[in-house]
């Protein structure tokens, strides 16, 4: 898992650990990774050191291969890769700080795809597996509050859809998770939206999708309906509303 120390990734990791899945955590900060690994071990009632970790930063694509290799060695060959990591900022900030906007676009789109390609190659080489990646409902349509972040996520969603089309027959389950507004640290600076979800609920939906191999998950589920409506709104309406 890349991004399991925080937010929805933490919640998914806990549910997988408690039901007995073997886990390996990738993330930016080694001490944060160690604390999260310990938390998972205690919650799952496992021995200290049974949840492995390795540093991996979405902004440093050169290390992706090595990080996945160490996970592979420790786990004895992984069958599922979950990516919840990503950068986020409000549209106002991204407009004001073009350098940061570039970082977000690179990390959330280009580098995430590079990471997924590394994971996909390894999974296909062993006959398939599950690649579960967190995109966002922000990628469903160009919208005022998430123009840049949403563009990166739109690209990522398209990539995941393409993977599903091409490699489904070869055993790859490409799962694209599209969370709506979820109350995590990422959205802490924003006013709480209606239909806001909690990380635990999203994690339940995601774990079910991993088990079933569903290619697309909206979480909470109500966001599938919300985005269906949003996609149908004509342009002159989208120009007027702030959503």
């Amino acid at each position: 898992m890349l991004g399991a120390t925080k937010g929805m990734g933490r919640a998914v990791a806990r549910q997988l650990a408690v039901r007995g899945d073997a886990l390996f955590l990738l993330g930016r900060d080694p001490s944060d990774l160690a604390a999260s690994a310990r938390d998972l071990e205690i919650r799952a009632g496992r021995a200290e050191g049974s949840v492995g970790t390795a540093p991996c930063d979405l902004e440093r694509p050169d290390d992706f291969g090595a990080a996945l290799d160490s996970a592979d060695v420790v786990l004895g060959g992984f069958d599922t890769v979950v990516v919840t990591a990503g950068l986020f900022a409000t549209q106002d900030r991204l407009e004001a700080e073009p350098r940061f906007a570039q970082r977000v676009l690179t990390a959330d789109f280009a580098n995430t795809v590079v990471f997924c390609e590394e994971a996909r190659r390894r999974l296909l080489a062993r006959g398939g597996g599950t690649l579960c990646v967190f995109s966002s409902v922000a990628g469903e349509r160009g919208r005022k509050p998430v123009i840049i972040y949403g563009a990166a996520k739109a690209g990522l969603s398209h990539y995941m859809e393409g993977l599903d089309h091409k490699f489904h027959d070869r055993g790859l389950r490409a799962i694209c998770v599209k969370p709506g507004f979820v109350r995590t640290g990422m959205t802490a600076g924003l006013p709480t939206a209606p239909f806001a979800g909690e990380p635990e609920g999203v994690a339940r939906d995601v774990v079910r999708a991993i088990d079933r191999g569903s290619p697309e998950v909206y979480a909470p589920g109500i966001w599938r309906m919300i985005m269906m409506v949003i996609r149908m709104l004509p342009r002159f309406v989208m120009r007027k509303i702030g959503f």
Partner: protein
């Protein structure tokens, strides 16, 4: 600035103030410059609400990692936002439990330390704070310190039961206890009046690790204070069913009830039914741990039953020195004013704990859930005058209406607490709506 339309409230939903929570897994980062932390918001009144000029409080709920657990000593260290529900779910099936539990599991570790919660075993095991080994705090000036009974003992004692006013609690370590089974052996007994109740509690305290009682507060005269006394202990492995207790089904109160629902007539009907449902005078049985510790957790949003204006809880302790008649005198103040409480819980308290502002002291604790009405402040004033006269005090985690002069008259320990606060937070950066009301912090 506050965000448009966003409000915060405690569990009683009175008062409701403008403001919002700031959430992050990284508590130390978001604590800086903010006046207060809150956990799951189960304190009833204004303990976890920002003062009028503040609009933000830190929410600890995302910082909920278990950092270590030593099965030899039982020591658990965790981040402040770890919920008691998680502890219950992870550890009870393995034969471990918290040494002290409040009446709901929707509380956080940080909240349990800050309110120095007590439970049915107070007469034997004291408050939660008695089992805390150390606390990691983010101070008002941005420094992080660890305190314990040996390191910065004054800061430690002020933080336990200090309602978050000494610093943002980041982590805490405490000692869990081994339990022989996850089930409870309970004996319950009908009590005809308050005098019998007091005697029953006293007699039970010697033999039973957990005691508490429910009182029909509408009964009066010779029947005043009738109710049911619950005595319990952990069931032994031989007595207990071999299976684990299944999580209880929850149901939800979907909307605010109209105010008459919890009016006097319906409380009278409920109380009479509840009292006489206990047909044999004494019942003995194995019960589910959630039914014993967290009966109200099965009803999501039960605070909505109290309607739009919310509820408050008045919990006080009347000291042993006040004599056996104190509880009757207190209940008489309630009935004389026509006050009706849907839920009235009575419990004997053991010795005072380590916390400088901790609530319990040797005596009898009475908790009344009261629907907020126009006359509620006057009722609370009258109850508090009785508490002052009897030499007792109130529980801050429940309070929303007590006046500063009453609080000062109840608690001579405030000076000591304020002295410690002056050392660690001379500019009173850390404060709550409650500390403005009761401790004179700048609004």
């Amino acid at each position: 600035m506050g965000r448009k339309g966003e409000t915060l409230a405690g569990w009683g939903r009175a008062p409701v103030v403008p403001g919002h929570e700031v959430r992050s897994e990284d508590l130390a980062r978001i604590a800086d410059g903010r006046p207060l932390s809150r956990g799951l918001g189960r304190s009833y009144g204004d303990s976890s609400l920002p003062a009028a000029s503040d609009h933000e409080v830190v929410s600890t709920v995302l910082a909920d990692r278990i950092l270590s657990f030593d099965p030899d000593s039982g020591v658990l260290r965790a981040e402040a936002g770890l919920s008691l529900e998680d502890i219950y779910r992870v550890f009870l099936p393995r034969g471990w439990f918290v040494p002290v539990t409040p009446g709901t599991k929707f509380v956080t570790l940080g909240g349990m330390v800050a309110a120095d919660v007590h439970g049915k075993n107070h007469h034997k095991d004291g408050c939660f704070g008695a089992h805390v080994l150390d606390i990691k705090l983010r101070l008002a000036d941005g420094r992080t310190v660890r305190c314990s009974p040996l390191v910065e003992p004054d800061l430690f004692r002020a933080t336990i039961g200090g309602m978050g006013l000494t610093g943002h609690i980041l982590e805490a370590a405490f000692k869990m206890v081994r339990v022989p089974s996850p089930w409870i052996w309970q004996e319950s007994e009908r009590m005809p009046n308050i005098e019998a109740f007091m005697a029953g509690l006293k007699a039970a305290s010697a033999d039973w690790p957990m005691t508490a009682g429910w009182i029909d507060c509408l009964s009066s005269g010779p029947k005043m204070g009738r109710g049911i006394l619950f005595k319990s202990r952990w069931a032994t492995a031989a007595e207990a069913p071999s299976r684990l207790p299944r999580p209880k089904r929850r149901f939800s109160i979907p909307f605010e009830f109209p105010q008459f629902v919890l009016g006097r007539p319906s409380i009278r009907v409920f109380n009479t039914l509840f009292y006489w449902k206990h047909i044999p005078r004494v019942k003995r049985r194995i019960v589910h741990p959630e039914s014993t510790f967290y009966p109200l957790d099965m009803i999501w949003h039960w605070n909505r039953m109290y309607g739009r204006r919310g509820l408050t809880q008045h919990q006080c302790v009347l000291p042993n020195e006040a004599g056996a008649g104190a509880a009757r005198r207190f209940l008489e103040v309630l009935t004389a004013r026509g006050g009706a409480s849907f839920l009235c819980v009575i419990k004997d308290c053991g010795p005072e704990g380590v916390g400088m502002l901790s609530f319990p002291r040797p005596g009898i604790s009475i908790a009344l859930d009261i629907a907020v009405r126009k006359d509620t402040p006057a009722l609370i004033d009258a109850l508090n005058e009785c508490v002052v006269k009897e030499g007792g005090r109130i529980y801050l985690a429940k309070d929303a209406f007590t006046r500063a002069e009453h609080f000062r008259a109840m608690d001579p320990r405030i000076e000591d607490f304020q002295r410690v606060r002056r050392i660690w937070d001379p500019n009173r950066k850390l404060r709550s709506l409650q500390s403005v009301r009761l401790l004179g912090d700048p609004p």
